[in-house]
């Protein structure tokens, strides 16, 4: 075959290979960040329904769930649950072998996300269920928050720490170092227990939340008063405002070949806190209970980091060998002796082969990430006079000024006398959200027989041998 034909063949392989699985970035992302959540939801639904590589399916479903939640879609919990089912589906290992091999990229593996991404998707699922009335929904919400807590547990790092004196010292200082440090998830578990009348379990969950909130204080957040976590006070609250501020952390590559995944805070984090007022009165400031960057950056290493490091060493080694062998081979080939020339050609050939192997190895880390998470979650439980009132949520920057264009006014919001009203607002340019309706209190179980008037009871029912 001529050189031109070989060139054609190589070009065809390159084009076909490049075409495999490449996909445009989701159009929903700019819409979402512009605050048009409904359009982002529609766009993302279209994308999920279309053909796409299976390996990205969990990420696309996570994005869909987040868009549905922010758009206030009544089926948001279902979409978020689908995302959870997708990333937790252990039967799927698409691309895992390839990703772990020298010549495969980590990004070719089925996406499961980092623990902080999984944890927050579960927490949002919990919130979507929490907004619904009824006992069953509370248990669904509780499952979401408890699952989130478990997803954030780093047992394997604990095992690694137990093997070294320094690690044991760290563990002695803080035995809960590897447990979930999400104050938000613990807090919401407590709120769920309160809704079904389990005050002792609620107190235990609030105690955990208080412990984790103290860690946030150590990171520079304002201290949270102990009264904030008082179960009796929280049980009396009829309004729960949750504000989501800023943008999600961003993954990026470092290292000679981008073999390490690192995480930095999200872009344009100007919102420092939220200010809530009801009926013209400013309420207590919402309390930060979740710092997503902190969640994302404190996990420690991953098994895949070591694999990528190995690939990088291979790439560097074969690359250097390629240069050396090709140089030597070409030098030897310049000899006048034909046998020496042949030997030089073989050496140069091996060098070229090493170069090809180096070029083909892919140590680059997977930086696919869920961009739709906030930077922090802040919570304000309040007891307001029942009835309709205007609730205003403003976002404040670090200098204390109100950020223009982000204020949300909820006119004539009905605050129930009993039960709960959940208001979730995200910072950024957006239209005022429509909060879910008030959540009525849950009656004790089992329901009284008298609740169905006109029922009869059969006197002949008693078993024959029962006294």
């Amino acid at each position: 075959m001529s050189a031109r034909r070989w060139s054609c063949l190589i070009l065809a392989i390159a084009l076909a290979g490049a075409g495999c699985g490449r996909r445009e970035p989701p159009r929903a992302l700019p819409l979402f960040h512009a605050g048009d959540y409904s359009a982002a939801f529609t766009e993302q639904k279209r994308r999920v329904q279309g053909e796409g590589p299976e390996r990205d399916q969990p990420l696309e479903l996570m994005r869909l769930g987040m868009c549905a939640f922010e758009a206030g879609d009544p089926d948001a919990a279902i979409f978020l649950r689908k995302a959870v089912d997708a990333f937790a589906d252990f039967s799927r290992s698409t691309g895992e072998t390839v990703a772990g091999s020298t010549f495969g990229s980590e990004a070719s593996a089925y996406f499961r996300g980092h623990p902080y991404e999984r944890m927050l998707v579960l927490a949002y699922y919990g919130l979507a269920e929490y907004a619904k009335p009824g006992r069953a929904a509370v248990f669904d919400a509780m499952a979401g928050f408890n699952h989130a807590i478990r997803e954030d547990y780093a047992g394997e790092i604990r095992e690694a720490y137990e093997k070294t004196p320094e690690g044991r010292e760290q563990l002695a200082k803080d035995p809960d170092f590897f447990k979930c440090d999400s104050a938000f998830a613990h807090f919401m578990v407590g709120m769920c227990h309160l809704r079904v009348g389990e005050s002792d379990l609620a107190k235990a969950a609030f105690a955990d939340a208080r412990k984790q909130a103290a860690k946030l204080t150590a990171r520079g957040y304002p201290a949270v008063a102990d009264e904030f976590f008082d179960a009796e006070r929280l049980a009396a609250c009829n309004l729960l405002v949750i504000t989501a501020l800023g943008r999600a952390p961003v993954k990026y590559r470092v290292g000679q070949y981008g073999e390490f995944c690192r995480i930095r805070p999200g872009d344009t984090v100007v919102e420092a806190r939220a200010r809530v007022s009801a009926g013209g009165v400013t309420l207590d400031p919402p309390v930060p209970l979740e710092d997503v960057f902190h969640q994302a950056s404190t996990r420690g290493g991953r098994a895949m980091d070591a694999i990528n490091r190995g690939k990088a060493v291979f790439k560097a080694g074969t690359g250097e060998a390629a240069v050396g062998l090709t140089y030597v081979g070409l030098a030897v080939m310049s000899s006048r002796d034909r046998d020496t020339q042949a030997a030089g050609a073989v050496i140069a050939g091996v060098g070229l082969l090493a170069g090809a192997l180096s070029a083909l190895s892919k140590p680059d880390a997977d930086v696919r990430c869920l961009e739709l998470l906030p930077a922090t979650l802040q919570v304000l439980p309040a007891r307001l006079p029942p009835g309709r009132q205007d609730v205003v949520i403003e976002f404040i920057d670090r200098s204390g000024a109100v950020i223009p264009g982000q204020t949300v006014v909820l006119r004539d919001l009905e605050v129930p006398a009993e039960g709960n009203r959940l208001v979730y607002v995200r910072s950024g340019p957006h239209r005022a959200p429509t909060p879910p309706p008030p959540i009525p209190p849950i009656p004790p179980v089992p329901p009284a027989q008298e609740s169905l008037p006109g029922l009869t009871s059969d006197p002949q029912l008693q078993p024959k041998d029962t006294p």
Binding site: C20, F90, G100, H147, Y153
Partner: protein, 201 residues
């Protein structure tokens, strides 16, 4: 370009293109008593069937049912699904519905279930009969429940980088609607594990 080269090129392109994202698919009916190939640590159809078989068998052996002079009437209450793993959360009503249907089949009248889900429609129909708008074959009062059937599902889940395990306990009970006594209770337990590949750790 000669024909052989073009054939090679076409074959190569076909192999590469068909390799993009295609998965072999097969469909078919499988035995619901056996685990399927889909896997996971959740409740399988085999568990539902075994559980309902066990519960229906033991409930009919209870003195309050087996020895009752007249068939006791049972109303279903919702099941508290306290499984703390989102992926393991089975539709609890599925279990109640299957048990009701199975008991209606196998109890041969020794238990009667009340349809509380449609009580509003039943009441409307009854009122229409009372007004004479529709005919009635015999006058009957709306039946009260002698027992409530309810249950609870709880779980113990562990997650590590190696994988996850889930232990599930299904506890169902029959509660006397007057005295609140539990006249029957039975358990079904299951534990499943799933491993996680190295890439996902």
């Amino acid at each position: 370009m000669n024909l052989r080269f073009l054939t090679c090129l076409a074959a190569l392109a076909a192999v590469l293109v068909t390799g993009c994202g295609e998965r072999s698919q097969s469909y078919g009916r499988v035995d619901p008593d056996h685990d399927d190939v889909v896997g996971g640590t959740g409740t399988e159809s085999g568990d539902v069937r075994a559980m309902c078989d066990q519960f229906c068998r033991t409930i009919l052996e209870v003195e309050e049912v087996a020895g009752a002079a007249k068939a006791p009437r049972v109303a279903l209450l919702s099941v508290d699904n306290r499984v703390n793993d989102v992926t393991q959360r089975i539709d609890a009503d599925l279990l109640l519905t299957k048990m009701r249907a199975q008991l209606n089949q196998s109890a041969r009248g020794r238990l009667r279930f009340l349809d509380r889900a449609n009580v509003d429609a039943i009441r409307r129909e009854k009122e229409a009969m009372d007004r004479g708008e529709v005919t009635r074959s015999s006058a009957k009062a709306l039946s009260g429940a002698d027992f409530f059937m309810t249950g609870e599902i709880r779980s113990l889940s562990k997650t590590s980088e190696a994988g996850q395990s889930t232990y599930l306990v299904y506890a169902f009970r029959l509660v006397d609607s007057q005295s609140s006594e539990i006249v029957w209770e039975d358990l079904y337990e299951q534990k499943r594990v799933a491993e996680r590949g190295a890439v996902y750790r």
